[in-house]
Amino acid sequence: MSIDVSARAAEHSAGLDEPLAILDPSGARHANAVLDGQLSDVDETALTDLYVDMALARRVDQEAFALTRQGELVLWPPSLGQEAAQVGSGRALRETDFVFGSYREHALAVLRGVTFRELLAVWQGTTQSGWDPQAYRMATPQIIIGAQTLHATGYAMGLRMDGADDVAIAYLGDGAMSEGDVNEAMVFASTFRVPAVFFCQNNHYAISEPVRLQSASPLAARATGFGIPALRVDGNDVLAVLAATRIALQRARRGGGPTFIEAVTYRIGPHTTTDDPTRYRDDEEVAQWRGKDPIDRLERHLAQNGARVDQIREEAQVRCDQAARDLRTAVTTGEMPRAETIFDHVYTTPTVRISEQRAQHLAFEASIEGES
């Protein structure tokens, strides 16, 4: 019987041999039997919006990277190269769907409306969570690899109990695929047939470890073993990602259970600002992936379609420049939290112990001030 489930999952899977794609690196559009039906509404305006979203995501990333180098942020995990994976999937969601991200999903956060100050406060080291998860329907950054896939699954169990047709989407990386939690999440999601999407951005490296160290087979192929249909797409092709995510979301909303998406992409930059990727990968490989750039690709496609690319680029530039200014302001005007906030929200009502430690700390601080 379990073989049937896995066979059925395999039947609804696609791209396991060769990732599904719509746009090739030259910008030319190719027919794709699985994905094309999802893109009938995507006109030039929609393409332009996707282009601007990706450009904005890239600029936010670049500015934050620079701010880290300037000592304004303590750390930054760059998302350069992964714009299509994040924007394509993020634009497929509706507002009431809930996003459980990892720590590199900056574009998702921006698309959800998280402000720059809220986005950057974590990386400034002034808070562990800049935004309200319930307000934006997006959990705050998750550092423990793969932990969020269980939260998304549990949220989706709740959605199912509520009879809601929203979806929980979990973002994870290729390294997370080796974690027990991710595998447990797939067991639960499949068994309880919950409205969840596992969106794996295979960016080829878990810090220094190449994806072949995590898996001997395509990551997406694993999902079918759990009875979960999988779609493997070119993660640098925003249209392919958008279409695949729409398929997964529709399946979930109709009660068809979870879907696994592997977006095959590449982390052009380092793992974080403290990493040195020259130690573990060669320039040739990076150059090869630069040639598959998601933004250039869409720009070429727009040009081939006769769109006024200069104008679109200019429009994006204006938005990006404004974002860069706003981002800088957000960082430089961010406030240092008061010391005693250390003691806030450990429990919903403070325990005697924490209240005592708070009082002791304040008395200690006051005594120091009294001396100086």
Binding site: G158, A168, F188, Y347
Partner: protein, 338 residues
């Protein structure tokens, strides 16, 4: 309403009452449905409330806790069962890195009203990983409330309070006491912060919790035959531990014995003794004593009687803090002391 129930049934009653009162309460765990749990604590609940609310889960402890966290994001109040104390470690990561700190991490914007039930402790004559007392790991983790119980009444009231709490609560259920009967008044409520004084006595304070409480009460009866009065305190709440009640008692008795099944090193007894020394050093007439499991792995069950705090070991510690002849004084006389 008062009824006589075994402790395990009292917990089951608390779960059933919570399920009946609040549709957001759901149960999740291995074998809790049709089987009613390996200890039958959840017996009949799935029949009564359906498979959607009393959920038999796949065998994956991290997922049991991790999905409960997701459900809490969605507004549910999940109660999860980890089948045995020794099986909680796969779930440890989700408990300490996620459940315990999501409220803090989100600056209070997310609440995690999740109850984690762990049958714990020894004296059931089982094999490895079925008799441990891992409460200190959780007591060391900020953001968790850690509680236990020692009687059917306490079991009922503790479980109801845990479920009602908006903080995550780890409930350690003394599995060897599941079958011990007592009166349960379902209208009795408790907080999750305070200890209770079970017997008043002028000579020695004995602080304990969970399965060790009955042993201490038995020791109090035995000691009274010799004219010694023990003040037995059931700590109930392991974190936060109610030091005020212990200190008040020690100020009256001047002597302290702390007893539990877990190993002594970096344990609840370490915490209680340290706090009492900090706050009531002047009131102590003797160094405090600890009667605990030894700092070894839990032994094979044939030897657990030697490992667990027994009535005689508690009385021996009482003798020692009173300056009477005890095994410790013998050890000192033979030159074996450190």
């Amino acid at each position: 309403m008062t009824e006589t129930l075994p402790l395990g049934k009292a917990i089951g009653r608390a779960l059933g009452d919570a399920l009946a009162e609040d549709e957001k309460v759901v149960l999740l765990g291995e074998d809790i449905g049709k089987l009613g749990g390996v200890f039958r604590v959840t017996d009949g609940l799935q029949q009564q409330f359906g498979e959607a609310r009393v959920i038999d889960s796949p065998l994956a402890e991290s997922a049991i806790v991790g999905t409960a966290i997701g459900m809490a994001y969605r507004g549910y109040r999940p109660i999860v069962e980890i089948q045995f104390d020794g099986f909680m470690f796969p779930a440890f990561d989700q408990i300490v890195t996620q459940l315990a700190r999501l409220h803090y991490r989100t600056a209070g914007r997310v609440r995690m009203p999740v109850t984690v039930r762990i049958p714990y402790g020894g004296h059931i004559g089982s094999v490895e990983h079925h008799a441990e007392s891992p409460e200190s790991y959780f007591a060391h983790t900020p953001g968790l409330r850690v509680v236990t119980c020692s009687s059917p009444q306490e079991a009922y009231s503790t479980m109801r309070a845990a479920i009602a709490s908006d903080d995550p609560v780890i409930v350690f259920e003394p599995k060897a006491k599941y079958w011990g009967k007592g009166d349960v008044d379902t209208s009795v409520v408790r907080d999750l912060d305070t200890a209770t004084v079970l017997t008043r006595g002028r000579d020695v304070t004995v602080a304990c919790y969970g399965p060790t409480v009955q042993t201490a009460l038995d020791a109090a009866v035995a000691a009274s035959d010799e004219g010694i009065e023990l003040e037995v305190i059931d700590l109930r709440s392991i974190s936060p531990v109610d030091i005020d009640t212990v200190v008040d008692s020690v100020r009256r008795t001047g002597r302290l014995v702390v007893a539990h099944e877990a190993p002594a090193e970096a344990s609840v007894s370490s915490e209680v003794v340290a706090n009492v020394v900090e706050r009531a050093f002047d009131a102590l007439n003797a160094p405090p004593e600890r009667v605990t499991g030894y700092d070894t792995p839990y032994p094979p069950s044939a030897l657990e009687g030697h490992y667990l705090p027994s009535l005689d070991r508690i009385l021996d510690a009482v003798d020692h803090v009173l300056g009477r002849r005890s095994s410790r004084s013998e050890l000192a006389l033979t030159g074996g002391a450190r």
